[in-house]
Amino acid sequence: MAHAHNDHSEIQILPPDKAKIRKIWMTTLYLGLATGIEFIAAFTMSAGPVKTILFVLLTFFKTFYIVGEFMHLKYEVKMLIWSIVMPVTFICWFIGAMLTEGHSVEVLRDWVQTWYTNMIQK
C-alpha cells in the first residue's frame, strides 16, 4: 500500500484476494439460503406467532451479514459499532409501542361500534 501513495505515476495492481472473495460469496450463499427459507415458509406454514418469529429471526440474520460483512461494520472499532447499534435499539421500543397502540385502536373500534348499535336498537 505504501508504494501507491508515494509514487503516483506508477500504480501497483495487487492480485485478487482469494480468501476475501470466497468470504463474499459465502455471505451471498447465507443470504440466499435465508431468503429461500423465508420464501418456502411463506407458503407452507400457517400464519401465527411461530411463523412471524421465524421471519423476524431470519431478517435479523440477514441484517447481521449485510451490515457486518458487506458494510464492514464488524471490523470497525467498537465505539463506531455501538454508536450505530445503540440508537437503532430505540426502534424496538417504537415497534412495540405502536403495535400495541394499533391493536388497541382495533379493539376500541369494535367496542364503540357495538355500543353504538346497541344504543340505536334501544
Binding site: A2, H5, F55, M71, M98
Partner: protein, 242 residues
Amino acid sequence: MATTAATVSDKNLWKGGVEPLKASYGKLMMWFFLLSDALTFSGLLVTYGFSRFSHPTNAAQTVFSAKYWPLPEKVFTHIPFTHMPAPLVFVGIMTFILIMSSVTMVLAVEAGHRMDKAAVQKWMLWTILGGFAFLGCQAWEWTIFITGSEKGLIEEGIQIIGANLKGNEYGPVLFANLFFFITGFHGTHVLSGVLINILVFYNVSIGTYERIGHYEMVEKVGLYWHFVDLVWVFVFTFFYLV
C-alpha cells in the same frame, strides 16, 4: 502522537490531525446519514404495522373487502408475461436482483482496495445494471397494482378497479397509500443510488481515484447501496411476507 502517526496514513487524518473512530470523515458521516435514514424507514414501516394492527384481518381471505386488511400473498400474485397466479414470486425475483447487485458492489470495493481499475469498472457496471433491473421490476409491479383486475371490487354498488391514493380494490385505501409510500420511498433511494453509482463509475473511468490514490468513494457509495438493499430485506419481510 508517534503511535498514531505510525498506524494511520496521512490521507485519513481529519483537519484536526487525528482520525476519530479510525474512520475517514466521509465514511463516518455516511454511517450517521444511514442511521438517520434507518429511522425514517422504520417510521414508515412501523406506520404500516400500526395500520395493520388497527384493522381486522381475515386469515381465510377469499374475496377482498374495504374492511379487512388484505393478505399480501393474495394481492401480489402476478408475474410478467404469464397469466398463472404466482404469489410473491415476482417480489422474490426483485429481492434476488437487489441482493446480487449488493454482492457485485462488495466485489467492486474489493477491487478498489487492490487499485484494479478494470475490475472496479466491471463490478460497478454490474451493480448499475442490477439497479436498473430492480427499478424496471418495480415500475412493472406498480403498473400491475394500479391497473388492478378486470372485475375489480364491487362494494355497496360502487365498483373500484385497481388501486391509487383514493381507492383500492384489494382492501382499505390506507393499504394502497402505504404501498405507494414505502416502496416509492425505497425506489427513490434505489434511483438516487443508481445515479450516484453512474457518477462514481464515470470518475473511476476517467481515473479520478487513481489520481487521488485510493478508491474510498466506491466504498462510500457501497455503504449507501448496501443500506438500500437492507431496507428492501425489511420491506420484503414486513410488507410482503408477514
